[in-house]
Each structure stands twice: as structure tokens, then as C-alpha cells.
Amino acid sequence: MTPALSPAAPPVAVQVPRPRPVWRRLPPGPARQTVFAVLLILVWQALSQWWVQNSSLLPSPVVVLGRAAELTLGGELPRDMATSLGRILVGYVTGAALGTALGLVMGRLPGLETLLGPSLGFVRSIPPIALVPFSIIVFGIGEASKYAIIVYLVGIVLALSAAAGVRETPRIRIRAAQALGAGGLTVLVKVVLPSALPFILSGLRVGLNLAFMAVVSAELIGARGGLGRMIMDSQTMFETDRMVVGILALGVLGAVLDRGADLVIRRALGRFTHQAA
């Protein structure tokens, strides 16, 4: 307003904007991330082509892609993927069902939880791969030993989270149902189970990750077929390109499983999820 202040403004406006460097011209976000991803692959290609120059140490992306196509068309990659996926699904479903049942019972009987809780917590802290040799001794080298490891891991996680969910059920809800004449079973199915569901769901997510990791461990140590076996075999035969294909396939399988579980849980049981946090 006052003329004394206005002259200060123009010099700023007149100043010529400095040309921004190339990497700053891209808007931040997915577009720039894609550029960086492409850049990363180009660097990988350059490294393996001009610096390492040894395909059994660092196969180039082109070589890996070619090998992936060959393994897919030959049927080996889909077969190994299906083997690993089958093991995960069988073990996961069995373990989740058994663990949830145990957890519900444990949560309703505090005495049982006092007795079993600490041992389950201890057993949970054992690295799953350490149990693979034991499982093989008891259940043999076949599929049973792989299922056993997954059932055991997933089962413990679900038992602990379901029990926590039951324990956190607001007592007023149970009392309200009882006051309205609900019996023990009705309370368990219609009040306790829905209240515990957010905990069970987050246990299901954690359990899926563990099942995935356990199957890889079991296959690395000793198995017939599966992506973990494929990676380990490639290492013994120095076929690093095949190994990288296996590792990336595992990543894809893990991402698909994770997204799939997320989608199913949100679609089918969306109203139970947001309470979990």
C-alpha cells in the first residue's frame, strides 16, 4: 500500500529462474520411480556386460530374461512354482484352522493359557529353519515334513493371536449377550469370535509371511521340487542365471500371495479390519 514498501518486490519477480537439472524436472512419485527402476536395470546390464563379464557371477538382465522364458516354456518354472504354492496352501490352511481353534479355547480358559502361553512364546522364537532337520527325521524327507513345519509355525501364530483377541473381547458385550439369554456356544460364535476377528486377521497376515519363509527354508535344506530347491540346485551347478530367475520368481509369488490375502481379507471381512490397529 505504502509506496515505500512496493519497490522491494520487483527484483524478485524479474530474477531469471535458473535452468533446473534434468533429474529435478521429473515430478516426484511413480513416474520418477519407474525411471529409476529402468536406470537400475541398465546399470545392472552395464555392470555384467563390461565390468564383471562372467555370467556365472553376475548374469545380465537380458540373460536372466532369456533363461526365464526358456524355463517357463519348458514347464520347469511353472511346475516348481506350483509345488511351492501347493505346500504353502496346504500347510497354511491346516495350520490356520488348528491354531485358531486352539487359540479360541485358550482364550476362554485362562488357566490353559497360563500353562501353554510361555512355551508357545519360546517355541515361536526358534528360527523355523532350525526345525527343518528335526522335521525331516520325524516325518521323512517327503511332503509331510514340509507341511509339518508350516502347520506348526502358522498354528502357533494363530493360537497366540486368537487367544489375545478372545482376551480383548469387551466383557460388557459378553454380559449383554448372556443377559439376553445367550448360551455358552452362542456367545462364543456370535460375540467372542467376531470380536477376536481383527486379531485373527492380523495373525493370518503374519502367518502367511511365515509360511512362505518356512517353505523356502525347508526346500533349501532338503526337498524334491519347489522354488527353494531350484535355487539351491542352481547354486551347486553354478547356473547363476537360473538361480536369479528362481529368486525373482519367489519374490513375485510372495507379492502375489500378500496382495491376494490383502484383497480377500478386505473384500470379505473389511468391516473387521480397521479395529485391529
Binding site: R32, L57, L115, A130, I137, L220, I247, G251
Partner: protein, 264 residues
């Protein structure tokens, strides 16, 4: 009123009894089962396992394997966590760094670290560097996201308050951002330590000539199941111990930064 436990002497007494029962009863059940129903050669009773463990402690065999595994974990954990926190701070303050790291992190977080053991063996052989690489990699990959989310969780009003009071950029970092992100970083460190532990045992099982993981595989080859059980139970106890130690450190040494207090 009768259900209130812990406050009265009687309640505390019962709690203590429950804890003892929780340790003794499963052990007793295991002892009885493996002496009757199960094959004692495959599932040795806890008394024999304990005897084996004591014997191995006496000869120094167990102590040696534990010390070797611990040294592997700590060197890699310290280096990797430092790198991860530094990268995380960088990524949180510059969208360019974040966008550059994002694709790499996306790949690294979907590939299970155990699957990288064979690759590490191709690159570094079966000696120490392979294990070191794996742990540094794992700790770095795990620490970047938790550091970033710690920095991002800071209320902007705190940053603005510091800035309007004339704090320089370095001051803002040291006095506002780092303390506020610390609970997330500490929690990330605790989780990361657990994973490092798991991967070290895995790496020792697949290719090593010492350490707890090697002990398990070696006893399996010689069909020494009670020795194998020692190898299985020791990392469980160590993992539990570290977790408790970390929680204790966070709540006792750094009570301001305890995660439970802030988030729970």
C-alpha cells in the same frame, strides 16, 4: 472382585505358581511322552538334552558355537543398521532419494532373505564375508522403511515451531527429527535383530563350518538327536533373551522413547 489378581498378595502368589507350572508341566509332559509313546532316539527327553547341553558347555563346544554366531550377528547388525538409518534419514528428507530407493526396496522386501543365501555363496564363497553381506543387507533393508516412517510421523507443527524459533537445519535434525523418530528406529532395530538371528542360523546350516546352525546340521548327519535339540533350543532362548534385553534397554535406559508408551 475375586478376579482381581496381582494387586493382593494371594493373587501374586497364584501368578507365580502359574509361571512355575507353565515351565515345569510342558517339560514334564515332554519327558513322559518321549519315555513312553514317542521314540526316545528321535525325540530325546529334556533330562537327556539338558545333560548333553551341560556336557557341551563343559567342553567349551557350545560356548564356541554361540560366540561365533553372536560375533557374526553383531558386526553385520551394527554396520547394516547404521547404513539403513542413514539411508532412511536421507530418503525421508529428499523425495529424490526416496524415489531412487523405492524400486530397489520393493524388490528386496518381497524376496525372502533366506533365498539369497545361495547367491551370497556364489559371490563370497562359504567364508565369513558371505554371512556378513547377508546380515548387512538384511539390516539395511529393514531399517530404511522404519526410519522413514519414524521421520514422517513427526507432526509438522513441531518442525515449524523449531524453524520459527530460529533453529538451523542441523539443529532441527539433531533436536527434533531424530528424537521423534527414535521410537520407530528402536522398534525397527528390535525386529531387525530377530530376523538377523534367523538368517545367521540359516546361513550356517546351508554353508559354514561353525556356529549354531552348523551344530544342528552336523548333529543330524551323525544322528545325535540330543545334540541337535541343544542346537534347536539354544537359538530360541537366545532370541527370546535378546528381545527381552532390547525391551528392557528401551524402557529403562531410554524411558522417553519407549514405543509402548507412545503408541499404546
Amino acid at each position: 472382585m475375586p478376579r482381581v489378581t496381582g494387586a493382593t498378595g494371594e493373587g501374586r502368589g497364584r501368578h507365580w505358581l502359574g509361571a512355575v507350572g507353565a515351565v515345569l508341566l510342558p517339560l514334564l509332559a515332554w519327558e513322559l511322552l518321549s519315555r513312553t509313546v514317542l521314540n526316545g532316539n528321535l525325540v530325546p527327553p529334556p533330562s537327556i538334552v539338558a545333560g548333553t547341553a551341560l556336557g557341551m558347555l563343559g567342553t567349551g563346544e557350545l560356548g564356541l558355537h554361540i560366540a561365533i554366531s553372536l560375533r557374526r550377528i553383531f558386526v553385520g547388525f551394527v554396520l547394516g543398521s547404521g547404513l539403513g538409518i542413514a539411508l532412511g534419514l536421507g530418503a525421508a528428507s529428499s523425495s529424490l532419494v526416496w524415489d531412487a530407493l523405492r524400486p530397489l526396496l520393493a524388490v528386496c522386501s518381497t524376496v525372502p532373505p533366506i533365498a539369497l543365501i545361495p547367491l551370497a555363496m556364489v559371490w563370497f564363497g562359504i567364508d565369513e564375508p558371505a554371512r556378513l553381506f547377508l546380515i548387512i543387507y538384511l539390516a539395511t533393508v529393514l531399517m530404511v522403511p522404519s526410519t522413514v516412517s519414524g521421520v514422517r510421523a513427526i507432526a509438522p507443527i513441531r518442525l515449524r515451531a523449531a524453524e520459527s524459533l530460529g533453529a538451523r537445519r542441523a539443529d532441527v535434525y539433531v533436536r527434533v527429527i531424530l528424537p521423534a523418530a527414535l521410537p520407530f528406529i528402536l522398534n525397527g532395530l528390535r525386529i531387525s535383530l530377530g530376523f538377523c538371528f534367523m538368517v545367521v542360523v540359516a546361513a550356517e546350516m546351508i554353508g559354514a563350518s561353525s556356529g549354531i546352525g552348523y551344530l544342528i546340521v552336523q548333529s543330524r548327519y551323525y544322528a545325535l538327536t540330543s545334540k541337535m535339540f541343544v542346537g534347536i533350543l539354544v537359538p530360541g532362548a537366545m532370541g527370546l533373551g535378546f528381545d527381552a534385553l532390547f525391551r528392557w534397554l528401551v524402557t529403562v535406559a531410554l524411558p522417553r522413547f519407549a514405543v509402548e508408551k507412545r503408541t499404546g
